[in-house]
Symmetry: D2
Subunit: 138 residues, 4 copies
């Protein structure tokens, strides 16, 4: 369902507790979103999308031996100039969910400053993804 | 009001857009929380506190010339085993708010796995901080 | 020849020039060394090895579209308590060498503080790797 | 002697051993060089300088309680299109040297690709810094 991006955990991702640091979770989410949006929309459109909000529930810590995580992503809302995704970080080793997140991206002008409605084509593609994810989620 | 931690922006904090990357915002928040909790509570108690949830509103991008950020923090809720803080990242150069966040820390057992009520002393200190922040917030 | 570890470039690895930041090159090298040493030696031995020296020649910049790098590693010297590797970071997309490095790891006591000769078994394994790499390098 | 930049250690700088990760040392060095070159030369010149080589001797590990490091920098060589600095990372808490490094920056064309001689003015300034550092080093 939706899109999945596999990311390899690096030693540098851990902090002094031996766990993947909380900030690195946002990097994992970003890797999934980047690849999802880049695959779906034009380079220009993606470059004008800015992260406006993110919220993360940390469920379990990740350690070096988890080795890989799968970041799943579904589109849950498409607005005039924004799109909301729900993202899940799962340990590939254990299948356990490490975090669940929601992220709002806003389409902006070229200066990436003010929000601006999606052009028709990307909007159509995002709505198709939303519909597809909703169907599969049933 | 509350606690403020100044953090210097590093060149490494920027990403390919020339803005401080979203994941680095969590690092700025963590620096403020770490220093706040370490100043208030014992080392052992802080080591048993785990970030359970965070949500961030990104308001403005930060660039190298912002140079420094001030991360403000107030306690907004204290529970049996959890504490919620509201955090604000402000450009020291411009005074503009770059992000507003809320973070939930949970007090856990020594293995940092299961939640466990705060002992009396840290709970008392957190409630005093909460009361102080509420008063100053009036 | 030697060992090769593939690492995926992350958006977070770039800096404000749109290039993979120089510090991240050390992370790529570390990923290769960690996997090489972990595959060859016991967990305990690897945990007692400390990076003592590294030197890096930066030949070409890496960008997001390089996507993946291959970090090649050969053992070039084995001493009583140290091992030297030569490492090469190559863009998987273009085959161009981005950096060539040399790293010295020192085997230490359990506190990871003072150097201590390799036990017989790891030393034998490192010398076998050295010999193998030298042969293939001919 | 030379230039000194103070950098605060962040919790995110540590890795699973509880020590500042080796890659972060390059970030500390970069902070010092950036500030030194930006203070001495024009923005345009600094933007055309690219790190070509770095070598680092790791002498002691840094931990959270070191809190701050002082990164000292002296110019040790100025060429037609390159400048070499020697850098020292010292724990502000203990005064102990954690690392000694040497870095070669090359002045390039605007595309940051091919080396190009320094214009007269920056070259004169770099040579003055070299002379000053040599004098103070006596």
């Amino acid at each position: 369902m939706g899109y999945t991006k596999r990311v390899e955990i690096r030693w540098r991702d851990l902090d002094g507790f031996g766990h993947v640091n909380n900030a690195v979770f946002l990097t994992y989410l970003e890797e999934a979103r980047d690849e999802f949006y880049t695959g779906l929309l034009s380079h220009d459109t993606v470059n004008q999308m800015v992260l406006r909000h993110t919220s993360v529930d940390f469920r379990r810590s990740l350690v070096q031996s988890d080795d890989l995580v799968d970041v799943g992503l579904v589109v849950i809302q498409v607005g005039t100039s924004s799109v909301v995704t729900r993202e899940t970080i799962t340990s590939s080793a254990t299948g356990e969910v490490a975090a669940v997140a929601e992220s709002v991206m806003v389409h902006c002008d070229q200066a990436r400053e003010r929000s601006q409605p999606f052009p028709d084509e990307p909007r159509r593609l995002l709505e198709a993804a939303l519909e597809q994810d909703a169907k599969e989620g049933d």
